[in-house]
């Protein structure tokens, strides 16, 4: 008697139109943001076509550009996951920057006592230390939410500021290498411990780590009972409790794993690029990660694609500056525009969903 006509395979995909919307809207948002950005560029006296040409060239136009883009995409993927994973459980955590810098700091100091050991265990140790500290940092936001009723979005943002302050405090104080004169840094890590370059790509191995983690996140969220349980918890804590899921633990677990991702991003920056923890680590990757995750609709694989796009944009900034004398902040303006447009598109999508239902 059931009126089910065709039975499709499960994981809950939204209705046809909604699925199309969820792809079309971010694309539209980026196009709209580009249009506004073009106007902005024109107002500051530049030819938009030239600017867009340079963005493509600076981000994707040469193998050198690709290397720059890819090495930026590596941390962006991870901080994007740091937003997307808790989003499955219904959390909006935006404090990736703090977990990233603290994770980087942990990675920078953890190998200092060991000299002349095999590189691989040391490299793993750095990533692990970053993950632990980052996880701890997000875990705090999770604890505050579940046991004290503090909104996790706000607490994670504030914790991020605290994390950055702690980072400055330590790198300029206790953990400072006295030899770092003009730029307070920790003692440099043993050069042999630095992450190797991927053969043939010319990009550090951190890229491979972040890609593997993105794939792992995709598989876990979509094809395992953990992903299912996390969606239940995110859908309704009340129902999750009824069916016996330990909601607090799931929320904490998701926060810790997410913080771990951001922490690994920091550790990779240190172990592959900087070689030491200093203020060069604080360049806003954590905040770009929010944009990446939202634009990718919190889908791990889409995060990889979006991270490439945003990484490419960031990589092209220096070319824009050199050729056209446009300030560094120009790219931030573009990013900000995209973010605003995505949020607006989301609001519109909400409305459309309501009207298509009618």
């Amino acid at each position: 008697m059931s009126s089910i006509s065709g039975i499709e395979p499960v994981p809950s995909k939204p209705l046809g139109t909604a699925a199309q919307l969820s792809v079309a809207l971010p694309v539209l948002a980026v196009l709209l943001a580009s249009a506004i950005f073009a106007a902005f560029v024109a107002l500051s006296g530049q030819n938009p076509a030239t600017v867009f040409g340079l963005i493509v060239q600076g981000g994707f136009g040469s193998s050198f550009a690709w290397q720059d883009t890819l090495s930026r995409a590596a941390p962006l993927v991870l901080v994007g996951l740091a937003v997307a994973i808790p989003a499955q459980a219904g959390l909006v955590i935006i404090g990736g920057e703090g977990a990233l810098v603290l994770g980087g700091l942990a990675g920078a100091v953890v190998t200092l006592p060991f000299a002349g050991v095999h590189a691989l265990p040391m490299q793993l140790l750095m990533l692990l230390a970053g993950a632990l500290i980052g996880g701890l940092w997000f875990g705090l936001a999770g604890v505050l939410r579940q046991y004290r009723g503090v909104n996790e979005t706000i607490s994670s943002l504030l914790l991020s500021y605290i994390g950055i302050a702690v980072f400055h405090h330590l790198t300029e104080g206790m953990l400072r290498d006295p030899a770092s004169l003009d730029k307070p840094s920790t003692h440099p890590i043993d050069p042999s411990y630095m992450l190797p370059t991927l053969p043939g790509v010319g990009v550090h191995a951190g890229l491979a780590v972040s890609l593997l983690l993105a794939i792992a996140a995709h598989v876990v969220l979509r094809y395992t009972r953990w992903g299912f349980a996390l969606r239940v918890v995110g859908g309704s804590a009340r129902v999750a409790r009824m069916i016996g899921l330990a909601v607090n633990r799931w929320i904490l677990g998701a926060s810790v794993v997410a913080g771990g991702m951001a922490g690994i991003a920091g550790a990779i920056e240190v172990a592959a690029v900087q070689g030491t923890a200093n203020s060069s680590l604080i360049v806003g990757y954590g905040y770009s990660g929010i944009l990446v995750a939202f634009l990718a609709r919190h889908q791990p694989l889409a995060i990889v694609a979006v991270a490439l796009l945003i990484g490419g944009m960031q990589a092209s900034a220096s070319l824009l500056q050199r050729r056209l004398g446009l300030p560094d902040a120009t790219m931030l303006v573009f990013q900000g525009l995209i973010f605003v447009c995505v949020l607006v598109a989301d609001a519109i999508a909400q409305q459309l969903r309501e009207t298509t239902r009618r």
Binding site: M1, S3, S12, L15, R225, V239, R241, I243
Partner: protein, 504 residues
């Protein structure tokens, strides 16, 4: 202002391939109550949602006093004085009743003169035959109080056509009489017309003038209630003569082993005050114990505490083992439940019907091996349950909110009753079910009981309760105040205890 005559003409509404309304016409005579009857999923809610501008019909239109109108949004309906009390609650929980009522006006002034608004409000509520506390937060009201507040809201907004979608499913029979009686007297006085959706024939008979029966989206019968017998209505609903309902399977005597034992249970309500006080009870294998009581006397908190959704003190054991609601305990001891308001309390709206049907066993073979989900097996299970419990849905991937109210209930029944149930906690399991599904649910509960399941049945409907249980406990102000075996039960005595009186 006189009460308009509202007419729906040739309404058709499709959801994808699903024809939810098929050329339905309906006339609500000025100053009458018009009842809508129909099976779960027949299209009743869809029809009235078109009338309040929430859905847009694909064809057809609405006439008010002979003039054609198109309703593009609830705002347009508001302008015509059409308002609806939904199957689910719509008040803002964190605001008081008074605040809710005042801000519910479609056109709020920039500045709210609270004093004059509150005065106007007091005038509306003074005329009511029942009491609704105005300065209490909605989150602290019982289901019955919330429902009354919803109705007060519509009256306050000055509706001329009031639509009630299964308004009494969360009310006790006495409350239902109060509320519907009031609506009836307002229509008699020519201040209002009303549409009443209900699954209860006796309500339709007592409070409606006309009735229309929908079947699979089509209007199959319409006319004055007095001209139609219950059997004729039932036949119109299901499309075939009603075979005399089979009586429940004969009950085997309860066994001696105790399944559920609760000792000195204390639970706090949302407001932080004790809602359940030192409650102790036992349920044996193959026994149905009913908890009677007026809603808001701690039943909700009691059930939530038992299901592990709320902190509690005291002990609860199932088959001798302590029970704290972990997943392992649930599976091992077989504790399942049918909560009230299933869409909110037992389903996850943003997951599909199939996934919702799997909430109990998604982490067990065959749905899951190791940690890997098997979505093929999940779909198969859903298909089987949907067929077995006759859940009508647009598809297995439909979100739960696309199911009709009664079908949500059926889906939850299907999920909970097909587990290895040793203890079943059911709160008002037949709310919103049509009479066929009601009988079916009763039968399934009795079957489970006869297989040895201990059942705790919480209901505000004494007749339903006494028809099913072996023993009745009366709950009042958070305590069990009276106990009697079903054979010796006297409805009047129970009623007195429910009302909080200590009979001498």
């Amino acid at each position: 202002m006189s009460v308009p005559q509202v007419e729906l003409k040739n309404m058709t509404k499709r959801f994808g391939a699903n024809l939810a309304l098929n050329n339905v016409s309906l006339l609500i005579r000025s100053g009458t109550v018009h009842a809508l009857l129909g099976e779960n999923g027949a299209g009743k809610s869809t029809l009235v949602k078109c009338l309040v501008g929430f859905y847009h019909p694909d064809e057809g239109h609405i006439q008010v006093d002979g003039r054609e109108h198109r309703l593009n949004s609830p705002r347009d309906a508001d302008a015509l004085g059409i308002g609806m009390v939904y199957q689910h609650f719509t008040l803002v929980p964190s605001m008081t009743v008074a605040q809710n009522l005042v801000v519910s006006g479609a056109r709020l002034p920039a500045y709210i003169n609270w004093q004059s608004e509150l005065r106007r409000l007091a005038q509306v509520t003074r005329k009511l035959p029942f009491h609704v506390p105005l300065d209490v937060r909605v989150s602290q009201l019982s289901a019955g109080e919330k429902q009354k507040a919803e109705i007060v809201k519509q009256l306050y907004l000055g509706r001329k056509l009031l639509i009630l979608d299964e308004p009494t499913s969360v009310l006790t029979p006495a409350e239902a009489d109060e509320v519907l009686g009031h609506v009836r007297s307002l229509t008699r006085a020519g201040e209002l017309s009303a549409i009443l959706i209900s699954h209860k024939f006796h309500e339709v008979r007592r409070f409606a003038d006309d009735v229309t029966v929908l079947r699979r989206g089509a209007s199959v019968r319409t006319g004055p209630v007095a001209d139609l017998t219950d059997d004729a209505l039932a036949e119109a609903m299901i499309g075939e003569p009603v075979s005399k309902m089979v009586q429940h399977a004969p009950k085997s005597p309860p066994k001696s082993d105790i399944i559920l034992s609760v000792r000195d249970l204390c639970v706090n309500g949302d407001n932080g005050l004790p809602a359940v006080k030192d409650l102790s009870l036992e349920v044996r294998a193959a026994e149905v114990v009913g908890i009677a009581g007026v809603s808001g006397n701690g039943q909700l908190e009691f059930v939530e505490a038992m299901m592990g959704q709320r902190d509690r003190s005291g002990t609860m054991t199932v088959s001798g083992s302590p029970f704290n609601g972990t997943r392992r305990e649930i599976a091992r001891l077989g504790v399942y439940g049918l909560p009230q308001e299933p869409l909110k309390n037992a389903c996850i709206d943003r997951m599909s019907l199939a996934e919702n049907l799997a909430l109990r066993n998604f982490d067990r073979v065959p749905l899951c091996r190791g940690i890997a989900m098997n979505y093929g097996a999940l779909a198969e299970q859903a298909e089987r349950l949907v067929a077995q419990f006759r859940v009508k849905a647009p598809g297995l991937n439909a979100s739960m909110s696309a199911l009709s109210g009664g079908n949500v209930q059926r889906a939850v029944l299907a999920r909970e009753l097909t587990q290895d149930v040793r203890l079943l906690v059911a709160s008002n399991p037949t709310f919103g079910l049509d009479f066929v599904a009601c009988e079916e649910t009763y039968r399934r509960i009795v079957e489970a009981r006869n297989r040895g399941t201990a059942v705790l049945l919480i209901s505000e409907d004494l007749d339903e309760l006494l028809g099913l249980v072996d023993r009745v406990l009366v709950m009042s102000a958070g305590r069990i105040v009276y106990e009697v075996s079903a054979d010796g039960a006297d409805k009047r005595v129970i009623g007195k205890y429910m009302a909080g009186m200590k009979a001498a």
